[in-house]
Structures are given as structure tokens and as C-alpha cells.
């Protein structure tokens, strides 16, 4: 039985979970999607702890609302939509906290590592530091652009899937991806200059 479940597609697994409440089917889907969702949410919110909570909440919502999934949509689209909405809520919550916090420092606006790297261009080629710089730059891109850039360039989703997840027209998706990339290029100009 376990082997059979393992060979089922996502849509078949969720159908099994919906029809027969088979917890094992649910567990297989969690196993398949926990890492991709962690990657997506981490790149979007930038914080590991929040990211784990958000992906946990996503799986809980999946468990509680399994019957709201309709088989005409891809399961991946559905679960990414839940994760994206929770991630956006987290960003909104952070924004409110920043507005009401007494210590309203501007540390986030100027990443110190990035400034140091711009002073030492030879270090910018180091893989780990470069990745950190890219991640910090990504967090500075507007969330509406950041989301689609991550889904396209990091998660490798198609324009159609991204359109379904975000609820945007494909043209808007492409335009936002382009703008997001341009913003990123501007922020990373010291790395990508000829």
C-alpha cells in the first residue's frame, strides 16, 4: 500500500486523502512539498524561524481544508497559494510592528555586508557572500515583484502556474518578473557591471 501511494501523482494523493482520509497520503504530500515551500517562503520573508512556522501553518491549513481543493487545479498551485498568502500576511504583520516599534532603526535599509563588499570587489566573487548579498537584495525588491521572481527564477514554475498562484494575468506576471529583475540588477550593479 505504501509503495502504491508513493507512486501516485499529487492530485491522486489528495483525492485519496479527501475520499478516504488516508493520513499516509497527506504525509507523502507533506514530504514532497515541505522543502520547495521552505525555499520559496525563506526567499520571500528572509527569516528561517518565521519560514518554518509559515510552512507548518500551510500544511495545517492543507490538512484542515482539504475539501476546498478542486481537482481541476494543480495541487502544487493550490498549496503554493496558501503558502504565499501566509507569507504575505507575515510581511504585513512585520510592517505594522515596525510602525509601532519604539526603536525604529534603519538597519534593514542599508545592509552592512553589502556596503563592505562594494568596498572590496574581490570578495564579491566568493560564493557564500555573493548568495547572501543576492538574498539581501531580493528582500529589498517590492514584494509584488519579489514573489513572481522567486516563483519563476528560483522555483522554476511556469508562467501559467505563477498566474494561477498569484491570480494575475500572464502578461502582468511577465511584466512584474521583468521589473523585479531590473530592480535586482540595480541593487546588485556592483556585481553585474561589465
Amino acid at each position: 500500500m505504501s509503495k502504491q501511494l508513493n507512486q501516485l501523482t499529487d492530485e491522486e494523493l489528495i483525492k485519496e486523502f479527501q475520499d478516504n482520509n488516508t493520513l499516509e497520503a497527506y504525509e507523502y504530500l507533506v514530504k514532497r512539498y515541505k522543502d520547495p515551500l521552505m525555499n520559496f517562503v525563506y526567499r520571500f520573508v528572509g527569516d528561517r524561524d518565521s519560514c518554518t512556522d509559515i510552512v507548518q501553518e500551510t500544511m495545517i491549513k492543507f490538512y484542515l481544508n482539504k475539501d476546498s481543493y478542486r481537482s481541476f487545479a494543480k495541487f502544487s498551485t493550490w498549496i503554493y497559494t496558501i503558502a504565499a498568502n501566509l507569507a504575505k500576511n507575515e510581511l504585513k504583520r512585520r510592517k505594522r510592528r515596525v510602525i509601532f516599534s519604539i526603536d525604529n532603526s534603519d538597519d534593514e535599509k542599508s545592509p552592512q555586508i553589502e556596503d563592505k563588499m562594494f568596498q572590496a570587489p574581490d570578495k564579491a566573487t566568493d560564493g557564500e557572500i555573493k548568495n547572501e548579498i543576492i538574498q539581501k537584495a531580493l528582500l529589498k525588491v517590492k514584494p509584488v515583484y519579489r514573489e513572481v521572481v522567486i516563483l519563476r527564477d528560483i522555483q522554476d514554475l511556469s508562467y501559467e502556474e505563477i498566474s494561477d498562484i498569484t491570480g494575475l494575468a500572464i502578461g502582468t506576471v511577465k511584466s512584474r518578473i521583468n521589473r523585479g529583475r531590473l530592480q535586482l540588477q540595480k541593487l546588485l550593479k556592483n556585481i553585474y557591471k561589465e
Binding site: 504525509e27 507533506v30 514530504k31 515541505k34 522543502d35 515551500l37 521552505m38 525555499n39 525563506y42 526567499r43 528561517r48 519560514c51 518554518t52 510552512v55 507548518q56 501553518e57 500544511m59 495545517i60 490538512y63 484542515l64 555573493k130 548568495n131 543576492i134 538574498q135 521572481v149 527564477d153 528560483i154 522554476d156 529583475r181 535586482l184 540588477q185 546588485l188 553585474y192 561589465e194
Partner: protein, 126 residues
């Protein structure tokens, strides 16, 4: 010239896209599934749903209770319209009965004075 700039831009974008794709993948922690299934088994679905229920009940009843209390207090402490009318009617009837009393007094005085007059006439043999 245009082709050169477009080519340049495309190169920069392709480098950026390449770097984005090669960012290290972040994995879920090892105890992720264990923690998740424990929560599900304990039905620990987070504070959000519980708070939501409490929050909506309180939100619904508190303003209604406040409005009802104000209305009740209004009717207790402020006289009603018909009460005012009753008071006026009472005053009127009091006024009327006073008038009646005063006319009765007048009449009885008149009667008494007439009686006196008759007595006087009788004593005079008239």
C-alpha cells in the same frame, strides 16, 4: 547599436537568472514532519482559529448589549410620553375638582345666606 545594448542587457539578466537559480536550496528542519503530525494528533491547530471564534462572539454581543442597556436605562430614568400626558390629565382633573369644590362652597355659602334670610323673614312674621 541597439542590438549591442539589448544583448548586453540580456547578458546581465541571464547572469542574474543563473545566480538566482544557483542559490542554495533551503530545506525544512529534520523534525518538521514530527512536529507537524504531533500538532495534528493533539489537534493543536494554532491560536488563530480559537481567537477568531472568541473574537467574533465578543465583537457581536458587546455593542448590542451596550445599546440595549442604554435603552433600558432611558426608559427607567426618563418619563414616558403617556406618563407626561397622564400628569397633565391629573393636573387638569385636580384643577377641575378644585373648581367644583369652590363652586360647591359658593353654593353652600349662598344657601346658608338664603337660609339666614328666610329665618330672618320668619322671625319678622313675614
Amino acid at each position: 547599436m541597439d542590438n549591442f545594448y539589448n544583448h548586453n542587457e540580456n547578458n546581465k539578466q541571464s547572469d542574474l537568472i543563473k545566480d538566482l537559480k544557483s542559490l542554495p536550496k533551503i530545506d525544512a528542519p529534520e523534525n518538521f514532519e514530527f512536529n507537524l503530525m504531533t500538532r495534528i494528533q493533539n489537534k493543536n491547530f494554532g491560536i488563530e482559529t480559537n481567537e477568531k471564534t472568541k473574537f467574533s462572539l465578543f465583537k457581536f454581543f458587546a455593542p448590542s448589549a451596550a445599546v440595549v442597556t442604554v435603552i433600558i436605562l432611558f426608559f427607567i430614568f426618563y418619563p414616558k410620553g403617556d406618563q407626561i400626558q397622564n400628569q397633565i390629565a391629573i393636573q387638569k382633573s385636580v384643577g377641575d375638582s378644585q373648581k367644583v369644590l369652590s363652586s360647591v362652597n359658593e353654593k353652600s355659602n349662598e344657601f346658608a345666606s338664603n337660609k339666614m334670610a328666610v329665618r330672618t323673614l320668619n322671625t319678622q312674621g313675614l
